[in-house]
């Protein structure tokens, strides 16, 4: 039996908006074992960042997530007291945010910000926290780590700041790391280095990681498991290899056709597209939300959508092959 760290069942996030409710996340399930990397992939507005904030208990007072189960190593996150959550956040589960430019406090030194969580959660002397900060800065590849502690965020480049954010998330040796687009703002060379570092750390320290991204290249190279989100629902989940080699849901297939594949897509040829836009999620949402953009949509897509299993891979579609046979016929015709 794998070492289960996180279980989420039927997570629902409704956001009250002027005169209605925005059904931002509707009934998603996933689980994560220690040592595993789960990538949640989706486009803007798909609810992937909200999901991660719900896990961290950072949605704010106005938004109350609901779930039949949301357990982190035996602790029910939704019913946990504020004190319990404070004890978890930053210590056993931590988050790396997208924008290193705005998520560091410009008025405090790197050293203070790095040590804050450790001094708060662990009963350690300042010297020990400092030693840990230097150790982690070195681990994330920052040279002259000792002297960086006294610097302010504006003195560091974007790549360095993102590495500081990663070191900060690791200070208390968390069991779960949630990284929300950690490399989107960075150069490809730095992106590769940082992702490599994160994956190595996950394996080495036996952590689990949820990586949120819209970059399918990142997903393919980093994920053990993939969850494809569209407009607040998980349309397809499964092991990375299966999702990329045999995608079943029409949205997943469409997404993979949108990106040029070096060596496979002919240079300058027409890329695949997904026509239409994401529907409004305000008010009653029923059936398959992708039906407005799907080539295989029928009347049945307005009703209940069954979930199909193919080994560890699961997808939601009225067609039990996600329209694959229909697609093949069209290609032949």
């Amino acid at each position: 039996m794998a070492d289960r760290l996180l279980t989420v069942r039927d997570l629902v996030i409704d956001i009250p908006v002027g005169g209605g409710t925005l059904h931002a996340v509707r009934g998603i399930d996933f689980e994560l074992d220690r040592g595993e990397v789960l990538c949640i992939v989706g486009e803007s507005g798909s609810g992937k960042s909200l999901t991660s904030l719900a896990l961290m208990g950072l949605l704010g007072k106005r938004i109350k997530p609901k779930a039949t189960q949301m357990d982190f190593d035996g602790t029910a996150l939704l019913s946990a007291s504020k004190k319990t959550m404070r004890g978890l956040r930053g210590a056993r589960m931590s988050m790396i945010f997208q924008e290193p430019m705005t998520s560091l406090n410009p008025a405090y030194t790197i050293g203070d910000q790095l040590m804050e969580a450790m001094l708060l959660h662990r009963d350690v002397p300042r010297s020990q926290a400092r030693a840990r900060a230097v150790e982690l800065l070195e681990k994330v590849g920052i040279t002259a780590a000792e002297s960086r502690l006294g610097q302010y965020p504006h003195q560091l480049s974007g790549g360095l700041r993102q590495r500081v954010m990663i070191a900060m998330a690791l200070m208390c040796g968390p069991e779960l790391i949630i990284a929300d687009e950690p490399t989107t703002a960075l150069d490809v060379t730095i992106q590769a280095q940082i992702l490599r570092l994160l994956v190595d750390l996950v394996r080495e320290m036996g952590m689990a990681m949820i990586l949120i991204t819209h970059d399918l290249g990142v997903v393919a190279r980093v994920a053990d498991k993939v969850a494809v989100m569209y407009a607040g629902e998980l349309v397809e989940t499964g092991p990375a290899k299966q999702i990329f080699e045999a995608p079943m849901h029409p949205y997943t297939r469409g997404l993979l056709r949108c990106i040029p594949l070096p060596g496979k897509t002919k240079r300058g040829s027409e890329l695949g597209t997904i026509p239409g836009i994401v529907p409004s999620l305000v008010g009653k949402v029923s059936g398959c939300v992708f039906r407005t953009r799907c080539g295989f949509a029928t009347e049945a897509c307005r009703g209940d959508i069954p979930r199909h299993l193919r080994g560890p891979q699961a997808f939601r579609c009225v067609l039990d092959d996600g329209g694959l046979s229909q697609e093949k016929q069209e290609v032949q015709a």
Partner: protein
């Protein structure tokens, strides 16, 4: 080869950067003696890490910055000799972020027709007609004319930005990361549109992007920039199949193609991009180069012609002792 529509000759751009409150200003050379030429309806992809000078180069081409020395020629005519208005008729930009590059208080029709009004082309009726036509070209319905940017999605906004760039019927379009702020499914629509427009109107693009998969897809030629220099320039297929400069190789290696199971590559680049105020001696890439020798630390390499392209590395220069090792 056809006569170049756009040519850069030994362009240098130096800024003066103050270090600290009392510091003496130091020169920062953002573009170092760059020569490039673009033939008609070519797409030149310009790639490199942040701070390598690619955006400075774009600004010089748009006439937003004057080069410190060197020349920019459009159809053989020096850019300095052309006034800004004349230049804007021939070269237009498409910027990265369609959320901040459109004035939120102007209607779409106003935004797209602004270039016509600035140049005093036609009357109100003909301008309106021109807007309607260009909206059709970029695939937007004419009913969006009276809406505002806030009512549009990112992809639609970028189409508006493209319409604004094309309404002057320019010959050259400078695309600075035109799709990096967009979702994957929208990005492919915009890339297809840029490809169609090029075929239809014979447009020439300078395509700046850090997304190498996109550059490989769209560009006909690629220039790799490092610390203000073009270190390699080649036909797209040649560069991607057979990169020569160690930096080009590292850059290509860091591309995460959607192939599961391969893991994240080790670029072996080391971490730090050098500070452009204190560039390394000799070859600027030597501190990060796995193949660097003593020669690289002291002498800057010169550009060497290679299969219709150029590469700037001692390994390819027959007059250095490193040549044999290539």
């Amino acid at each position: 080869m056809t006569a170049p529509v756009l040519e850069l000759r030994n362009v240098v751009k130096t800024y003066s950067v103050k270090q600290g409150l009392m510091g003496r200003p130091k020169p920062l050379t953002a573009v170092k003696d760059v020569s490039l030429s673009l033939g008609r309806s070519e797409v030149l992809g310009l790639v490199g890490e942040s701070g390598c000078g690619k955006s400075t180069l774009a600004k010089i081409l748009l006439g937003l910055e004057a080069p410190t020395s060197g020349e920019v020629l459009v159809d053989g005519e020096a850019l300095g000799a052309q006034d800004r208005l004349k230049l804007a008729r021939r070269i237009q930009p498409i910027f990265q972020d369609p959320y901040s590059s459109l004035n939120p208080r102007k209607s779409i029709a106003d935004i797209i027709s602004l270039p016509l009004r600035v140049h005093g082309i036609g009357d109100a009726a003909s301008q309106k007609q021109a807007v309607r036509e260009i909206l059709d070209v970029v695939g937007l319905p004419s009913r969006v004319m009276n809406t505002y940017p806030s009512q549009m999605s990112g992809g639609q906004r970028q189409r508006v930005a493209i319409a604004r760039a094309l309404i002057m019927k320019p010959e050259i379009v400078i695309c600075d990361e035109p799709t990096s702020a967009l979702d994957v499914s929208v990005q492919s629509q915009i890339l297809n549109l840029l490809g169609e427009l090029r075929r239809e109107f014979g447009l020439t693009y300078l395509f700046i992007s850090h997304n190498l998969a996109v550059v490989e897809h769209l560009a006909t030629r690629v220039a790799v920039m490092y610390l203000g220099r073009i270190v390699e320039e080649a036909e797209t297929g040649e560069l991607f199949d057979n990169p020569r400069h160690p930096y080009s190789r590292a850059l290509l290696k860091s591309v995460l193609t959607p192939e599961p199971g391969l893991g994240v590559p080790d670029t072996q680049l080391g971490m730090a991009y050098p500070n452009p105020i204190n560039p390394p001696s000799g070859c600027a890439f030597h501190p990060r180069c796995p193949l660097a020798t003593e020669l690289c630390k002291t002498r800057a390499p010169r550009p060497v012609a290679q299969d219709g392209g150029l590469v700037e590395c001692h390994l390819y220069d027959p007059e250095t002792e490193m040549f044999e090792q290539a």
